[in-house]
């Protein structure tokens, strides 16, 4: 359903779409049923001259059944939804698969800095490639990201991946994604971060392995030009 409007471009985006679709079916069914019963009762029991309303306390078991049965149904469907939602949650947020590569995502008022590992595929080496507001990744490769912020809260959101994670100053939060198709898409900041919150767009560029290799080689700093790098800045007090 969502993928009709927003492309589905990560390994877990389809799973999240499925959860949303199943919740829509379940809640949609109950919502429509409840509204039909509700409007049906209103029209059936509109005041008619000479007809007195029934006297029903709703305390007797055979009357209460009309409330308790839907109540159990609600509980059963709640359990089903919870199981599905938690399964996807685990896949996206808790069980991080082994990474092929790691990128660092640094947010600040009001720009994104992306640190790519460069041709040697290792961070904190001289050939790292830093870019602003442009993240280059390779299709079908499992990435870990290390997300942090230099000032206030931000949130790293890639709608085509169905991925979202807040960035917190002083902490490095890890997550993962694996793109399943090439293309260029929006990266959003989805946590209000001051007056420039609305002008903090970035783009993710998903490339084929060949394209990505070329991009890596043409953008990596020449090792000779680079002064020895300082170790990565520890942000705040947390390890």
């Amino acid at each position: 359903m969502i993928d009709q409007y927003v492309e589905s471009a990560s390994t877990f985006s389809g799973d999240i779409d499925n959860v949303i679709w199943i919740i829509l079916l379940i809640t949609g069914f109950w919502f429509i049923l409840a509204e039909v019963v509700f409007f049906g009762l209103i029209f059936k029991f509109l005041a008619k001259p000479g007809v007195k309303a029934k006297y029903v306390s709703g305390e007797k078991p055979h009357e209460k059944r009309w409330v308790t049965l839907p109540h159990y149904a609600t509980l059963a469907f709640d359990v089903a939804i919870i199981v599905l939602a938690i399964k996807v949650w685990h896949d996206v947020k808790i069980n991080l698969p082994e990474a092929d590569s790691t990128v660092r995502v640094i947010s600040q008022q009001w720009a994104w800095t992306f640190v790519h590992p460069g041709p040697d595929n290792k961070l904190d080496t001289p050939d790292d490639i830093s870019t602003v507001d442009e993240l280059h990744v390779e299709k079908d490769k499992t990435y870990h990201f290390e997300l942090t912020s230099r000032d206030v809260l931000h949130s790293f959101s890639v709608p085509v991946f169905r991925l979202k994670q807040d960035a917190i100053p002083g902490r490095i939060i890890k997550g993962w994604f694996k793109a399943t198709q090439t293309g260029q898409y929006d990266i959003q900041c989805t946590e209000i971060c001051g007056i420039g919150h609305g002008i903090m767009p970035a783009r993710i560029i998903i490339e084929t392995p060949a394209q990505h290799r070329i991009w890596n080689q043409s953008n990596a700093p020449k090792v000779a030009d680079v002064t020895p790098t300082t170790p990565p800045t520890q942000l705040g007090g947390m390890p």
Binding site: M1, V6, D15, I16, V19, I23, L24, I26, T27, W30, F31, A34, E35, F38, F45, A47, A53, K54, Y55, V56, S57, G58, E59, E63, K64, W66, V67, P70, H71, D78, I81, I82, L84, A85, I86, V88, W89, K93, I94, Q109, V152, S155, S157, P159, V160, R162, Q165, D166, I168, I173, D186, T190, E191, I192, C193, G194, I195, G198, I199, L235
Partner: protein, 577 residues
């Protein structure tokens, strides 16, 4: 509280009837009154005035969204700074300065003494102080618009570090005034809440047992208890945040050993019960109205009561569903996902009970009944869309999108506006001694309900398409300018203009009916509850013929042993008389 003090206050209140006919000066009567009805009116009209501010802000920022860069008539160009301040003001005003004063303070003050059959609150002067603090909080909030740097623009949730440092928010004084206004407002409602609870516990009419108390009174009491139990952590947090802002402490600053996420826990520990603090009174209003206008006994009174208490208790265990992706331990999301979906059960049950009440009724579609029924119909959609957000896996995508905005407006708009309109149109004859014009009432009803849906259904679609919140100009995001998305934004804004225009109908009808309306009898709806035994409007002291005795529950409509289809709580049983 010592009961002696309560009695002393109460005795003082007994004198009301004696000097009711004295002419009081304007100040004594309107600004310094201790009469619960006058204080209720002060809260009601202050809340309505603040709703105009809330409405104006949404007009300005929705115009910017639909027509970016235009000069908004009556406002001018909306800059990014303005946009954030407008959004923040809209959220805080509508929740803290409209929903709370109208639903809790105005209705609680007006209805509790009348519905439990006493002459005033047990602490009338505390009550007056409560309103005065509330008025002061409104003035502080409005003042914050005019300080250097302008009004606070860090969203109504006020997350640090953005809210904690002037260098980040660029509104140093505005942030502190906003926080101060919110804290004052909480103090006002704490005083009011103490008063409500004590009054209901101590001053019920003779014969009124706990299960004879009308549901709306119960709901206001449960809401007051929830508020008092949840607001403590937030006040502590607000003081810490104020220290961070003004004294440079580091409670929420990671560079100084603090933690910004701590604020989110403190805020939402209050913030989520707060949803139920305003929901429950609205649910109570609906219970009163649907029983009267379907001439039915409330289906399963005790179930409603227990589900309300259950909802209240559960609401303390769901707060972190606002923080699934905020950087909390991801395993915690599992727990809060479970509690969040569980809370759907008591709330759904309450709705089922209301639908069940309609069965076998004799339904009259008066204006208040239309509002009460619309509350159920619309709130259902707000409820089921909450499931998407409570389910952690789906929330990853929907978090902080317009889907969330549409969801909580489908809960908050029914609560704050549909619920308030239901209450105002239903109790209007009692409040002002006049009938409200039904035709114009219905015009206003349809002129509000239709555009309301036309605003927020497009927002669900925009959220599903990835529109994220609090963005003042989507032209910076190529994926969010794709086919038809701007059309949806324009459509929602146009619907908003229609909705706002129809509120003029309400205001005209309200004031016209107050001054020129048809005179109302004491009990125009043939209702059972005690307030309808007092004259319309009730004089100082409420029951000039003496305080009532109560013989039965509030919902004995269409009893098979009786000719009349209602049976006032005050009417003695035939056998006993």
């Amino acid at each position: 509280m010592s009961s002696a003090a309560a009695h002393a206050e109460h005795d003082h209140a007994h004198d009301h009837a004696h000097h009711a006919h004295h002419d009081e000066g304007f100040i004594k009567k309107y600004l310094w009154s201790t009469d619960h009805k006058m204080i209720a009116m002060q809260y009601l009209f202050t809340g309505m005035a603040m709703a105009l501010i809330g409405g104006f802000t949404v007009y300005a920022f929705r115009m910017q969204l639909a027509f970016p860069g235009m000069s908004v008539p009556g406002y001018g160009r909306v800059t990014a700074t303005d946009y954030n301040a407008l959004v923040t003001t809209h959220g805080s005003v509508m929740i803290f300065w409209v929903a709370m004063p109208v639903l809790i303070a105005a209705l609680g003050n007006y209805l509790i003494p009348l519905m439990i059959g006493c002459d005033d609150m047990v602490f009338p002067r505390l009550n007056r102080l409560s309103y005065q603090l509330f008025l002061l909080s409104s003035i502080v909030l409005i003042a914050s618009f005019y300080v250097p740097g302008g009004a606070f623009g860090g969203a109504w949730t006020s997350y640090p570090p953005l809210s904690a440092k002037a260098e980040y928010s660029l509104t140093g004084l505005g942030s502190s005034l906003w926080l101060f206004a919110v804290a004052l407002e909480f103090a006002a409602f704490l005083l009011g809440g103490i008063n409500f609870i004590t009054t209901v516990m101590n001053s019920r009419a003779p014969g009124m047992k706990m299960f004879d108390v009308p549901i709306v009174v119960w709901m206001i009491i449960i809401a007051s208890i929830l508020f008092m139990a949840s607001v403590g952590p937030l006040i502590a947090g607000a003081v810490m945040l104020l220290f961070d802002q003004q004294l440079g402490t580091g409670f929420f600053d990671p560079a100084k050993g603090g933690d910004p996420v701590l604020w989110q826990h403190l805020f939402w520990f209050f913030g989520h019960p707060e949803v139920y603090v305003v929901l429950l009174p609205a649910m109570g209003i609906v219970a009163e109205i649907i029983t009267v206008f379907s001439r039915k006994k409330l289906f399963a009174y005790k179930t409603v009561l227990y589900t309300a208490i259950g909802t209240g208790v559960l609401s303390f265990f769901v707060w972190a569903h606002h923080q699934f992706i905020a950087g909390i331990d991801p395993r915690m999301a599992n727990v809060f996902s479970v509690t969040t979906l569980l809370i759907s059960i008591p709330v759904a049950e309450m709705v089922f009970v209301y639908i069940g009440t309609l069965y076998g009724g004799s339904i009259r579609l008066t204006t208040p009944m239309l509002w009460a029924l619309a509350f159920i119909a619309e709130f259902l959609l707000g409820g089921v869309t909450g499931i998407f957000l409570g389910a952690s896996g789906a929330d990853i995508y929907f978090h902080d999108t317009y889907f969330v905005i549409a969801h909580f407006h489908y809960t908050f708009f029914p609560i704050a506006f549909i619920g308030s309109f239901a209450a105002i149109t239903y109790w209007f004859p009692k409040m002002f001694g006049k009938m409200m014009n039904e035709t114009w009432g219905k015009v206003h009803f349809w002129g509000t309900i239709i555009p309301f849906n036309a605003i927020f259904i497009p927002l669900f679609l925009l959220g599903a398409r990835g529109d994220h919140r609090r963005i003042y100009d989507y032209r910076h995001f190529p994926d969010l300018m794709k086919s038809g998305m701007q059309d949806l934004r324009v459509f929602a804004t146009l619907a908003l203009l229609v909705l706002l225009a129809f509120q003029v109908v309400f205001l005209v009808n309200l004031f016209y009916s107050i001054f020129r309306g048809e005179k109302a009898s004491a009990n125009p709806w043939n209702a059972n509850t005690l307030e309808w035994q007092a004259p319309s409007p009730p004089p100082h002291g409420n029951f000039p013929q003496g305080l009532p005795n109560v013989y039965r529950g509030p919902y004995e409509y269409s009893h098979p042993d009786r000719q009349d289809d209602y049976w006032p709580q005050t009417e003695p049983d035939a056998a006993k008389s």
